[in-house]
């Protein structure tokens, strides 16, 4: 086995194209995870016990099943049903594309984890803060938006940041539904030339590079905001 530099250079454009999809899927999925996770958390505190319990069991179910079956389920079962409807709402997205299913499944899967993170952050806000809100007579919505969530989210920024990196590392699972992300791209070039050493090694290197860069960014964000 000898490293072929010429070959490595030739396959780089394809691999970088795959990396582009990996990053897009991770970032969009992360946005979904952050927003939807907060929605779960707030619904789990809803006054209606039916809502609370439903959300509790649905998120518990999603968290306790592996990502790959969820990808299949989204891609082959759910999206064909709802894609036309979604398409009329957001006409610029083709929901039949594997990448769309991948982003949504990744986001929903991780939203059940971020929900737990938010929950812990909210539980960590001292009782005195709630009591001060009552003493000031602040309306419920303001208590959340102005006092509780700003404090809770700051505290969990490091944990939320770690989930970004975890999602990035889980994104190769999208190849199960034929998303041409980085790992899938390396398979495809490898299959053409039957030389797998270079593409798969480069995949590893690219993952390390992006992970390290995002860790540094997350740590910066942490230092900037996580000090209350």
């Amino acid at each position: 086995m000898e490293w072929d530099w010429q070959y490595s250079g030739d396959i780089m454009p394809d691999l970088l194209d795959g990396l582009k999809y990996t990053i897009i899927a991770t970032l969009l999925g992360y946005v979904i995870a952050l927003v939807l996770g907060l929605v779960w958390t707030l619904l789990r505190r809803a006054p209606n016990p039916v809502v609370r319990q439903t959300v509790r069991w649905v998120t518990e179910f999603i968290r306790c099943t592996p990502l790959i079956p969820q990808l299949f389920f989204f891609y082959f079962v759910i999206l064909p049903q709802v894609a036309p409807a979604l398409h009329t709402v957001l006409p610029f997205i083709d929901f039949q594309e594997p990448i769309a299913a991948g982003v949504i499944a990744l986001g929903v899967h991780y939203s059940t984890y971020t929900a737990e993170v938010y929950r812990a952050g909210i539980a960590d806000v001292p009782r005195g803060q709630w009591e001060a809100c009552t003493a000031l007579n602040l309306p419920r919505s303001r208590v959340w938006t102005d006092v509780i969530l700003p404090q809770a989210i700051r505290k969990v920024i490091p944990t939320l940041g770690n989930y970004l990196i975890a999602m990035f590392k889980d994104s190769p699972m999208l190849l199960a539904i034929q998303v041409v992300e980085l790992l899938n791209a390396s398979f495809q070039v490898g299959a053409k030339s039957l030389k797998y050493l270079e593409p798969i090694t480069i995949v590893g290197v690219l993952f390390v590079i992006v992970s390290v860069i995002s860790s540094i960014l997350v740590r910066r964000l942490e230092r900037r905001y996580a000090t209350v």
């Binding site: 001292p126 009591e131 001060a132 009552t134 000031l136 007579n137 602040l138 102005d146």
Partner: protein, 307 residues
């Protein structure tokens, strides 16, 4: 997280000096944040509540935590504008009384009146029913509270801590809220801390801001829950003097729980001695601290003063 009592960025001593006296007669001018040579605002100009303070009545109030009965059929009345201190051993139910009035705990039995309105009940078709959130919200507008642990919002600067309530609850305009916040900060001797964050302030300064924040809501009843217990000893007197001056200058109805007997003597018209959820003895401070008639009161005062 323990509160540091030293402001990290300042080397000058804070809070050791008494608060700038608010009484013109004494002519004292400020330490602690008020620039030298600048007279603190005369107290009459300060935005303190005037007039219309309601009285408070407890009728057979019962409060239980599980099987533990904290208040048992408690009856007492506070006159409009009266300043009452609650003393007694811990667990005697003093703080629970304040927390019931601030609606931080729910009432089990009995009726609490603020003025001529019931706090925990409302009238529906001539029948007295449990209060809904809207009723509680309206009733709470009359009541303000200062906590032992200050409970300032650490995600907001001092100004925003003071304007948040007036803007979101009283519907005051931003400009007006800021103006009033400035006046109140001047009153508590922290005019220069407008943009500071609570974590940058000493305990004494945080508690002054908390007092200003409570006053910004223009309460007619003010509840002080062991407001100096979390402060370093040398900071206690400054905050107490400030509260005494505010009490003297306003018509607010004041309920105060404290273990500082000098403060109780200073601030109140009447002292209630509690034990096991009942009033053991009551009277003007001179009587309670001078010649208490109950053995239980004598024992308690001896224990407190010995420590």
């Amino acid at each position: 997280m323990p509160q540091s009592d030293t402001a990290p960025e300042s080397s000058e001593p804070k809070d050791e000096a008494p608060a700038p006296s608010l009484e013109k007669a004494t002519g004292r001018t400020g330490a602690d944040g008020v620039p030298a040579g600048k007279d603190p605002k005369p107290i009459d100009a300060a935005p303190l509540p005037k007039g219309g303070a309601p009285g408070i009545t407890f009728e057979k109030v019962v409060k239980r935590f599980g099987s533990n009965v904290v208040l048992r059929e408690l009856d007492f009345t506070v006159a409009p504008g009266e300043r009452v201190t609650l003393i007694g051993p811990s667990g005697s139910g003093k703080t629970t009384i304040l927390r019931l009035l601030m609606t931080l705990e729910t009432l089990n039995e009995g009726v609490i009146w603020i003025g001529d309105q019931t706090l925990w009940h409302m009238d529906r078709g001539g029948k007295r029913v449990a209060a809904n959130q809207k009723h509680l919200h309206e009733m709470r507008k009359q009541v303000g509270m200062v906590f032992q642990q200050f409970n300032l919002f650490p995600n907001m600067n001092v100004l925003r801590n003071l304007t948040e309530g007036p803007r979101r609850v009283l519907g005051v305009s931003q400009d007006e809220a800021v103006e009033r916040a400035r006046e109140l900060l001047e009153l508590v001797g922290l005019a220069d801390k407008l943009n500071a964050h609570p974590t940058q302030l000493s305990g004494g300064q945080q508690q002054r801001v908390a007092v200003a924040r409570a006053l910004a809501m223009q309460p007619k009843v003010l509840l002080l829950d062991e407001v100096t217990s979390a402060l370093d000893p040398e900071l206690v007197v400054g905050v107490q003097d400030l509260l005494r001056d505010i009490a003297n200058a306003s018509d607010i109805t004041l309920l105060c729980v404290t273990h500082e007997m000098n403060f109780a003597r200073d601030i109140s018209n009447r002292v209630l001695m509690f034990d096991q959820g009942q009033i053991v003895e009551e009277g003007p401070p001179e009587q309670i601290f001078g010649e208490p008639s109950e053995q239980r009161t004598r024992d308690f005062l001896q224990a407190v003063l010995a420590s």
